[in-house]
Symmetry: C2
Subunit: 214 residues, 2 copies
């Protein structure tokens, strides 16, 4: 299963967490089986896509019965690497970094924040929501020592590439970038980007064109 | 141009803000023309895609010269509805909402935060980074009075649908949801979603499968 899953298309990977959340809700409701139609409705996609996506995990369901919720949840968690914790480091201890350190979803979903980094010496050794702040000069060595798997960049745009370089030097294999700039990482390092203003600009496009078409 | 642009594919719309940022950098560098290759490199896509995307705006560049940077920036801003401000309201005055209220990129890029809303009466009338907090009971009427165009949901998952309903009742046409849950809005309302833990789960997938393949 693990071998096969390396060929899972990117778009399917991006939907797995959405299915995971729906399955967790079903477990909470003590629902033991689910149809692809119901799962599709919960996840906001169509049923054919759900069946296709789940087939990549080797899950085909039972005709007339559907999928076993608990087993599918287990399979999905294993594929997503959620059966163990991934230590997270946040670079940038400003407002956004602090909000992220306190984002309940992280620890609860297996992403404990183990360190924060900032270039401001005044912040070093402070605890932010229980997480210790280190100086960015010590980023690579500290990330390596703490076994950080995922680095979150919450710095200003001008400091983002340096943060990425230091994370990579510290052996961090995955980076989530919140800074509003394009950064580059070596082959083999995973990079995803969340640009908050960009999301607003996309909404603005639709807002603009709706109003002008009314 | 505005008429034509209503048929721009979603994926192209999502890239326009990325080009916009690259063009703004070129203006800062006092570069007056740019090739599709250079713009492609800055935006992290291929040159053929850049030419296709820009053709939707009616921009074709000049052979051997490229695109006029300032004019393209103007066209892009107009398409994205960035030639005027879009007032933003943030629902949820917790850590994330507060970080967003202070996110420099918003006001600076034409998205002034004009109000925050929270269900905690203790927070009502507080100023968070200069933005006044109102009670969520007054959301629809206040959003309507202030002409809010975009609503940002930064509440816990359990309060997100209610926040969306109230924003829609207040005439807000675009919603950006940070709460880790699926919400529904009526046809004609634009909805985008940023799920921070989901981004980490996607990274975790790649991290897991890289490690197991080594």
């Amino acid at each position: 299963m693990s071998q096969r899953s390396r060929q899972i298309p990117e778009a399917t990977v991006a939907r797995l967490p959405v299915y995971l959340r729906s399955l967790a809700e079903l477990v909470d409701e003590k629902t033991s089986t689910v149809s692809s139609e119901r799962l599709a409705e919960m996840a906001g996609v169509n049923a054919a896509k759900v069946r296709k996506d789940l087939s990549y995990l080797g899950s085909y369901g039972t005709r007339g019965v559907g999928y076993d919720v608990e087993y599918l949840l287990f399979q999905m968690s294993r594929e997503l690497g959620l059966t163990h914790d991934w230590p997270v480091a946040i670079v940038g201890a400003g407002n956004l970094g602090s909000a992220l350190a306190n984002y309940g979803g992280f620890t609860q979903r297996g992403f404990p924040v183990v360190a924060m980094f900032d270039s401001d010496r005044q912040k070093v050794d402070n605890l932010i929501h229980g997480v210790r702040v280190f100086h960015t000069d010590d980023l690579a060595s500290t990330a390596s020592k703490l076994g950080v798997g995922i680095g979150v960049i919450a710095t200003p745009a001008s400091a983002a590439q340096d943060a990425a370089d230091k994370l990579v030097a510290g052996g961090v294999g995955s980076i989530l970038n919140f800074a509003p700039t394009v950064i580059s990482v070596p082959e083999g390092v995973s990079l995803r980007k969340v640009d908050l203003a960009l999301e607003l600009q996309i909404l603005s496009f639709y807002q603009e064109h709706r109003e002008s078409s009314e």
